[in-house]
Subunit: 290 residues, 6 copies
C-alpha cells in the first residue's frame, strides 16, 4: 500500500512554513487550504503561498484571505487566464464538454465532488472541471477508478449526444482514461481474465503521460491486455453517454448558466442543476461488518 | 484541450513589439497580419517583420505596407522563389496538382479558405496552395480533419484523373495525410472500432514528420490501427477523385489561368472557377441548441 | 547454490562492530537481534545500531535494550510512523488486508512465522505484516515459495471475501508475487511444462521490481511462460481465498483486535486467533531417509 | 514536391564561380557541363573544375576544353581507372552485364539516355553504364521509376540469359532497385493494395544504402509491403529478361564492340546496336489536355 | 577449431615463473599442478602460487608442498570456506544434491573424473562437486557435452528422486545446462532439425551467464531452437533421474559418507561407492580406423 | 560490382615498397608472392615482408628467399605454431577434419586449389587447410560460392562418415558457411523464391562474424530467408558427405600421410590422393558465346 506526496497534515505543515512571514487574514484557514490541495507537492504549495500573497497585494489587501489562496490555486495548476477569443459555437461546445464532466461528477456514485466548472481558458486548457476528493485518499477502490474514467470520458460523451460529432478536444481525457484503465489491468489486478499478475512496471505518476509500457509478455497476453483495457474504456464510454442522456435537462441547464456566468462554484452547480452531490460508494450491503 | 503557439491576440502583440521601430503605412493593419499568420511562432513573426521592412526598402517605399507583409509571408514559410526551368509538361502537371488541392479547398465543406495558388517554385516546393483558417482554431472537429485529408490527397487525385498516372510529387501530402489519420485513430478516439483508447504518445507537432510510433500494443491492435488509418486514407482518396471529376471543368479553368498567370489570389480563384467559398461545417441540424 | 548478504553469524559480527561503543543492556542479546534481521545488509545493520541507541536516549535509558533494536527495526525497513488520518472504513479495510496476510502466515504449511501485524502507517505502507524466517535460509523449496505467494495474495483475498470489491492497495503484493512466480518458471525449473530450462537472466534481487525480462525465446515459449506464471498466481489466489473463508472467524477476531490495539506481536496474534503457528514443510513421508 | 541539390541553373552558377581563374576554351560550354551533371553537389562541382584543369595541364593544353570536363566527370563519380587484370571470361561477363544495362536504357520507354558504356574498371566498379537525364528532373512518374528498376536489373538479366548462371556482381543493382521499389510502396503511394499511406520515414538519399526501415506497422501490413516490393522487383526482372531476349542480337553486337573498344559513347552505342534512343514516356493519349 | 586459455604446457610455464622465488618441496610437481588446473587464466595461476605459499607459511612449513597447491585451488575457484550453520535437513539435502552430481560423474560414459565432493560451504556455494578433465581438451564431442548436461542436472534429479520436491538450489546448474544445450543447437550444428546453421553469435565464455541471444531469425526458427534445447534438457533430465534410481544404493552411501566426513577425494569416492571411474567415450566400433 | 583490398598488381607494388631495403634472393619473385596473397591488406603485406626478413636472418641467410615469404605467410594469417600435446585420437580426428576440407577442395568443380594441409596447431587453429584462388577474383559465380560452402562443411562431414559423431570443432566452418549462404539469399539475389530483393545491409566483411542482421521485413519473409539459407546449408552438407563417401579411399590416404608428415603441400596432396586438381567451373555448354 503506497502513499505519495504530502497528505493533508503534511500540506498544512508546509503551508505554515511558507506563510510564516505573510500576514494571514482571519478567514485564511490553512487546514481548509490543505484540504483543497491534495496532489500538490511541497514546491507547488510554496508557489501557492507566494502567488496568494502577490494576489492579495494586487488586490490592495493588507492580509492574505482564503479567496486569494483559492484563486491562486487554479493558476498554480492550470496557469494564468488566457484572453482567447472563441467563436460562439466553440464556446458552446466547450461549455457542453465541461458540463459533461461536471454532470457525471454529480451522478456517478463515488465520484469526487465537483468544486468548480469554468469555460474561461487557462494555460493549455480551454475549460476546466475541478473535482476535489473530500479527504486525502490512500487506497482506491475499483468502483472509484471506474467512476473517474466515466467522468473523464464525459466531455466527449456530451459533445456526441448533443452534436453527434467528435472533436480533438478530448485528447487529454483519452490519455488519462487509458492510462488509468491500463493500470487497473496491468498493475492492480482488476481484470478477471488476467488476474493478480503484474504486467507492467510501475511508472512515476507525476511525470505526465508517456508511452504505455508492457513487461516482456507474449503476444497472446498483450492481446488480452488490449481487450480488457478496451472493454473498460468502451463500457465507461457507453455509461457516460447513457447517464448524460438521462440528465439532458440538467446538462442543458448547466451549459446555459456557464455561457452566462463563465465560472460556477460547487453551490452554484448544485443550485443550477438541482442535483444532490454524488452518493458515496457503498460496499456490498449483504457483507457482515464488525 | 490544448492550445499551442501564440493565437491572434498574441501574434498581434508580438507584431507590435517587432514593428515598434519600423515606419508602418496606414494600410498595414497588424490585426489583419495577425489574422493571416496562425501557426507562426514568435520567432517566425519577428522574421516576418524584418523581411517586410527589407522588402519595403527594396521597393523604394518609405513605409511598410500590408502587401510587404503578405509578400514576405510566403518567403518565411516556403523560402524564396527559385528560378527553376521546368518543361511545359512538368509545369502543366504541377498546375493540375496544385489546382487539385485548391478545388477541393473550395468544394469540401469545412475546408479552410484558399488564399493563394501558385506554380512559382519556392524553396523546396514546386508549387503551393495556401489555405488560411478564417480564425484561430483551438478545437478540431472530425469533419474538418477529414476535409483536410481530402484536400491533401487532391494533388495526386488530380494527376490521376487527368493523366491516369502517378508521380513522386505527392510525397509530402502522403506524409501529412497519414500523420493526421494516424492521430485521429490513436490519439483522438475517432475510430469506431478502437474507441476512446490512446494508442500512441503525443509528439511534438512542430518538428516535422518522423517515424510513426505506437504504444506497447498487441499485434492484433496494431493491425486494427493500420486498417482504420488505411480506411480513412482510402475513403478520402476516393472522395477527392470523385469531387474533382465532378468539378473537372473548374479544375481545367484554374489550370489554364495558373499556366498564364502563375499565381492567383483568393478573389481570382473564385472568379476563375466560378465557385463560392467552401461551406462551413454544420453540426447535425436536428440537435436542439440553446 | 547461491548465498547472499550476511547470514546470522555475519550479522552478529557486524552488530558487535557497530555496538562496540554503545552501552548494551543485559537483555540486548545480539544473537537474538541477528536472528531477527535476515535480509539486512551491513549498512542496514549499522543504521539499526545507531537508531536503537538514539531511541534508547530518547526514552531516557542509560543502556540500549533489545526492545530498542526491535522497535528501530521497523523504522529501518519501513521508515518512521506517519500520522495519517484514515477514515474508519479505510482503517477497517486495511485491518482486513493485513489480517489476510497474517492468517495465511499461520495456516499455510511452511509459511514464515508472523512476528507482528500493524495498521499504524509507516513510510510508504498503510499497514504491515512482518514475517520472520526461524533461521537463515539458503535454499528455498518450491512449497515454501508457493506458501509465500499465497500469503502475498492474502491481503486482496481478504478484501474480496469480506467486501466483494478490489482496491489498488494490493499493488506491491501483486508485484512481488508475480516476480516470485516468474522466477519459479524461468530460473528455478519449477514448471513441469517448461522443465529445467533457463528462460530469463538472473537479476539483482535487491534493486526492487523492474520490468520482467525474458531471454531471446520464441513467441510460443513466451506464451507458455505466461500461462505457467498465470496458473501459479491464480491457484494461489484461489487457495488464499478458500483458506480465509475457512478461517473467517479468526480473521474477524484479528481485525477486531487490530482496530483496538493497532499493533499485535506474535504472542498476541496466536492468542487472539487461537491458531497454532504454521506447521513446517514436510518432505514426502514415504521417502526413505538416512 | 521536393527539390534537392543544385539544379542546372545552380550548377552553371557554381561552375562559373570555380572556373573564374581558369582559362576556358571556346568549346567549354558551362551550360553543357551543367546539363551533364545532375545529382552533383556544389563540392562535387568544385572538384570537377579542379580535375578538369589538372587534366588539361597534363594533356599540355593552354585551356580547359569540354572534353576535359567530361573525362574528369567519371573520375569524380567513380574514382580513377584501375589497372585490374581480368580473365577473358570475366571480361566477357562484365561486358554482357553492362550491355544488359545499356540495351534496356535504349528500349525501355522513359529510360534516361545512355551516355556511355565502359568495361574499364574504375574505383569500386568493374564496368559502368552511365545514363544521363536529358534535363533536370523534379518529379518522377511511376513509369520512369519502373524503367529505372528494369534497367538496374538488366545486368544480372543479361548474365542469366547468356550464361544461365548468377554472380555476386549484381549486388549494387539489387540494393538500388530494392530501395527504389521500397520507396514506391512506402513513401510514394504507388501500390494499389496499400494506397496513399506513408509507411516509412524519409531518409537522406545521399548517404548511400542503409538498412530498410518501416514505421510502427502491424505484421500484416509489413507482409503486404514485402509482397508489393517483391512483385515490383519480380515483374521488372521478368521484363528485363524478356526485353534482352528480344534484343539478343543487339546485345551481342554491343558486347563485341565493348570487348574491342572497351568504352563506347552515346553515338557509338546507337551506331553499334542500330537502335534509336528510348522513346519518351507518354501520358495516356485519351486524356484531354489543355 | 578454437583453443582458449593456457594449456597444460602453458600453465606449467606460468607456474614456473610465479614459483621462481618460492621454496618448493620435492613433491611439488608443477606438471601435476598444471594438469589439475585446466580453465585457469594466467592471473588465476599467479594467485594460486601466492595462496599456496601463504598456506604453507600458515602451516609452519619451510617449503610449499603439492597439498598446499591443491588446498589453495578450491579457494581460488570458489572462494574461502564460510562457517554457515545449516539445519540437518538442509545439510542432508545438499549432500544429496552434490552426490547426485558425483554419481553421474562416475556412471555417465565420457564424464570428467570426479576429483572431490564437499558439503563445506565455500564462497557463494553451499556444496561443490569438482570434476577434472584427465587432459587438456581442445575439441568437444557431442556425447561429452551431453554427459556434462546430464551431470549438471544430477543435483536436482537426486533431490527429486529422494524427496520428491524441488528447491532453488539448482539455479546455477540450470543456467549452465541451458547455455550448453543452446550452444549445441545454435553454434555447433548438433540439432538434426536445424542442421549446420549458425543461429547465435559466439559469446565470451569467460564472462559468466548473460541473456541468451539469437541472430535475426524468424519466429518459426526461434520456436524450433526452443524445442530442440528443451528436448536436450528434458532427455538429459530423464536420464539423470533414471541413472540415479539405478544407483540409489551408491547415492545413499556417498551421502552417508559426506555427512560424516564433509569432503571426499577421488579415491574415497570410488571406495565409498564401489564404482569404477566413468568409462571413456567410444567412437562407433564398426567404423574402420587407420 | 565491388572490388576490395589491393589486387595482385597492388600487392606487388606494396611488396616492392616494403622490400626496398631488404636483400632479395634471385628466386624471391614478388609477383609470385603477390599471387599467393589475395585477401591481404597493405598492413598484412608489410608484416609479411618483416617476418620473411626475420625468418631469413634466423635461418642464417644473407638474402630473403621465396620460401621465407611462404613460410611467414601462415604465421601472418594464423599466428605462430603452438606446441599443443594432442591425444592420438584427437590428432586422428583433426586429420580427418582437415582432410575432409582438402578432398572436397580437389573434387568439387570450381573449388580453389588446395595449397597446403596441416595438423600442426597454429594460433587459434588445431589444423588448417589452405586454399588459394589461382588469380584475383572480382566477381563470384553462385556455383563457386556453393563449392566453398561444400568445402567448409567438409570437416564435419568427414568426422561424421568416419566416426558417426559430431564435435565442436566445426564452429568456425558453421559460422562462415552460414554467413555465405545468408549473403547469397539476402544480398546477391541467389534464391529463386526471394528473387533480386535486398534483405540485409552490406556489412564489413573484414571484421569477422557478428550477429546476422535483417532489414525491417515481415515475419513471413524472415521465415522464407531462414528456409532458403537452411536449404543451401543442408544440400551442401549432404553433397559434402556423399562426395567424401565416394572418395573414402583418398580421404584415408591423405589422413595416413598427414599423421606421418603433419603438413603436406599442393604437390604432395595430389600425389598422395592420386586426384587431379578440381576442374574449373563451366558455364552452360549450350549457350552461344561470342
Amino acid at each position: 500500500m503506497v502513499v505519495n506526496l504530502p497528505d493533508k497534515i503534511g500540506r498544512e505543515a508546509i503551508l505554515q512554513v511558507h506563510t510564516r512571514n505573510k500576514p494571514l487574514a482571519q478567514d485564511a484557514d490553512l487546514m481548509e487550504v490543505a484540504a483543497t490541495t491534495p496532489g500538490l507537492s511541497g514546491a507547488d504549495i510554496k508557489n501557492l503561498c507566494n502567488e496568494a500573497a502577490l494576489l492579495a497585494a494586487k488586490r490592495g489587501q493588507q492580509e492574505v484571505h482564503l479567496k486569494d489562496f483559492i484563486d491562486s490555486l487554479e493558476k498554480i495548476i492550470l496557469g494564468p487566464e488566457r484572453p482567447i477569443v472563441l467563436s460562439p459555437a466553440d464556446r458552446e461546445r466547450i461549455a457542453y464538454h465541461e458540463s459533461g464532466h461536471a454532470i457525471l461528477g454529480l451522478v456517478v456514485p463515488g465520484a469526487d465532488p465537483v468544486n468548480r466548472v469554468s469555460i474561461v481558458p487557462r494555460g493549455q486548457a480551454l475549460g476546466v472541471t475541478y473535482q476535489r476528493p473530500p479527504a486525502d485518499r490512500y487506497n482506491y477502490p475499483e468502483a472509484y477508478l471506474r467512476a473517474r474514467i466515466i467522468g473523464m470520458l464525459g466531455g466527449r460523451a456530451a459533445e456526441e449526444i448533443v452534436y453527434g460529432t467528435k472533436t480533438t478536444g478530448a485528447e487529454n481525457d483519452i490519455e488519462q482514461a487509458t492510462d488509468l484503465a491500463h493500470n487497473m489491468v496491468t498493475r492492480w489486478g482488476m481484470s478477471e481474465k488476467l488476474g493478480m499478475v503484474k504486467l507492467a512496471a510501475r511508472q512515476n505518476q507525476y511525470l505526465g503521460m508517456g508511452q504505455r509500457q508492457l513487461d516482456a509478455v507474449s503476444e497472446q497476453t498483450a492481446a488480452l491486455v488490449d481487450e480488457e483495457v478496451h472493454k473498460i474504456i468502451n463500457d465507461s464510454h457507453e455509461q457516460a453517454k447513457q447517464l448524460l442522456r438521462d440528465h439532458r435537462q440538467q446538462l442543458d441547464a448547466l451549459v446555459t448558466a456557464l455561457l452566462e456566468r463563465e465560472t460556477l462554484d460547487e453551490h452554484e452547480i448544485l443550485d443550477v442543476t438541482g442535483l444532490p452531490p454524488a452518493p458515496a460508494l457503498k460496499d456490498l450491503p449483504n457483507q457482515a461488518k464488525l
